[in-house]
């Protein structure tokens, strides 16, 4: 079996084919990507609010967080957070007098992707909130809306058209960043592909197959995100939306 062989039986979903293994890897990649993106969004909402309305110290600390995350390669952040995160949890368990636990790769992966994504979504959301014309918020106040009501009725919907392009980009980055978890041994799509390729020696075929899977995720995401963006932008004139 040479590296050029394109024995499609190897991609079969059932043993001895590796198709099922690849799809399972894809599922794990997507789980981490979804989890990490949502965690990042959560951090981003908190971070953006704190950067806009928080105290001085908090703002400076967040500035350090976003600068460091954006200035250090994701691969290195993932390694540091992976070890530090699992270490910290086990130290905590020790302090609480509980036996040490094995952190699941999934939880650790979601944590590291989330922390990395959080820095970027903080910036995206902060920019989007700042892009809302001040008059709209003043009008909400003039109507006597409480801060929470004006957040729900004005700030969030008015921010969406500015935030969605950035967030779409972050989602695409999240799906691709999961591949970096291969380096810490998390068996997502890229790592299982390498294992399948190494076992069968059909390198080209498996890497191309994984590439097709990633590309499908990207293209499908593009379609869905495009529809969401169009919906969020309804009612905006073209130059407002640009």
């Amino acid at each position: 079996m040479g590296p050029t062989s394109f024995d499609l039986n190897l991609l079969s979903l059932w043993s001895p084919g590796w198709g099922g293994v690849l799809l399972a890897g894809l599922m794990r990649s997507l789980e981490v990507a979804v989890g990490g993106f949502l965690l990042g969004l959560l951090i981003g909402i908190g971070g953006a609010s704190a950067k806009l309305w928080g105290g001085k110290v908090l703002r400076d600390l967040l500035e350090v967080y976003t600068t460091v995350v954006r200035g250090v390669p994701e691969l290195i952040l993932i390694l540091i957070l992976y070890y530090a995160g699992t270490d910290a949890v086990n130290k905590l368990m020790l302090v609480l007098g509980l036996p040490s636990v094995d952190i699941s790769g999934l939880a650790a992966g979601i944590f590291v992707i989330g922390v990395v994504q959080g820095a970027y979504s903080t910036e995206v959301l902060r920019g989007a909130i700042k892009a809302i014309p001040a008059g709209q918020l003043e009008a909400a106040r003039a109507y006597g809306m409480s801060p929470l009501l004006s957040l729900r009725r004005i700030t969030l919907p008015a921010m969406l058209p500015y935030a969605i392009p950035g967030l779409s980009n972050l989602w695409l980055i999240a799906t691709k960043d999961t591949a970096l978890l291969a380096v810490v041994g998390f068996s997502e799509l890229t790592l299982v592909t390498r294992q399948a390729a190494g076992t069968t020696k059909a390198y080209m075929m498996f890497f191309l197959a994984a590439g097709v899977l990633y590309l499908l995720v990207t293209l499908l995401s593009n379609v869905i995100l495009g529809a969401i963006e169009k919906r969020a932008r309804r009612g905006l004139s073209r130059e407002q939306a640009a």
Partner: protein
């Protein structure tokens, strides 16, 4: 949302001076300094002198990878962007498909496809094995270089497409009115104007490229990251080498950003 009042200022407030000497910043700096000093004091750094030479040569490899792939990638990005704007339909479609393909898959996968896939493919053919190129193709760095170059070309090609189509039509018409040929107009007007428009994003793309370089360590290129991996294996230290690595990359990012800002400031601008 704690206080909406700060969001909607009632009276004019002058913009706050951003100074490093505000009291809370001095306090924060002191805290960070304390952390830094205790890290230097309590953690183990005795391995540093032993690996000094290898670290420097690794840093050199990383820098070389960054600069060469960015420059070559940019050279490819210009035609990739240009044909998408003015090229014949099939070429434009091809360039677009290339950009989508590369931007839609992880760089690590592309790198492994080139190194393991193409690498083992090349090894099969005796003609390639006996050719002049084989001594190079047997090493890892050409694959790392190729993967990084292709990735930069695709991302920057997309940016160049936007930049070329964003140059105001009137400027190109003025060039035609002056009697410039297509090539002269491109060389004198279209290309410089487009590059100028991409400068701010070029900084970001180059930083992203810097942050992608450690991936080449996974195919045994001896860059900074793989030297650090070697340190970790030899000394069994988890954090110290990684923290040093993060610090070095942070400094490199800072230097890159500053260098681009200097470059941008040197170019005279009159609006955009």
């Amino acid at each position: 949302m704690k206080d909406e009042a700060t969001l909607v200022p009632m009276t004019y407030a002058p913009p706050k001076a951003r100074s490093l000497l505000e009291p809370h910043r001095i306090a924060l700096a002191a805290v960070f300094l304390a952390i830094l000093v205790s890290a230097a004091y309590f953690m183990r750094w005795d391995w540093l002198p032993r690996y000094q030479d290898r670290l420097i040569s690794g840093l050199w490899t990383t820098m070389l990878m960054l600069i060469s792939t960015s420059v070559v990638g940019f050279v490819f990005a210009v035609p990739l962007g240009l044909v998408q704007v003015t090229g014949p339909k099939p070429l434009a479609w091809l360039a677009n498909a290339f950009c989508t393909l590369i931007r839609g898959t992880p760089l690590l996968l592309q790198l492994w496809l080139l190194y393991y896939g193409l690498g083992s493919l090349f090894a099969q053919y005796p003609e390639i094995r006996s050719s002049w190129a084989w001594p190079y193709l047997r090493q890892a760095w050409p694959y790392g270089f190729a993967a990084l170059t292709i990735s930069f070309a695709a991302y920057e090609g997309e940016v160049m497409r936007g930049a070329f189509s964003g140059v105001p039509k009137g400027e190109l018409e003025a060039a035609r009115a002056y009697g410039m040929g297509r090539w002269t107009a491109f060389r004198r007007i279209w290309f410089p104007r487009a590059v100028y428009r991409t400068l701010p994003t070029l900084t970001g793309e180059t930083v992203l490229q810097l942050k992608s370089t450690p991936l080449v360590a996974t195919v045994t290129v001896m860059d900074l990251y793989s030297v650090i991996t070697k340190v970790r294996q030899d000394t069994l230290l988890t954090y110290e080498p990684l923290l040093l690595l993060a610090l070095i990359y942070l400094c490199l990012t800072g230097i890159l950003v500053l260098a681009f800002r200097l470059l941008e400031n040197r170019i005279p601008s009159r609006g955009n």
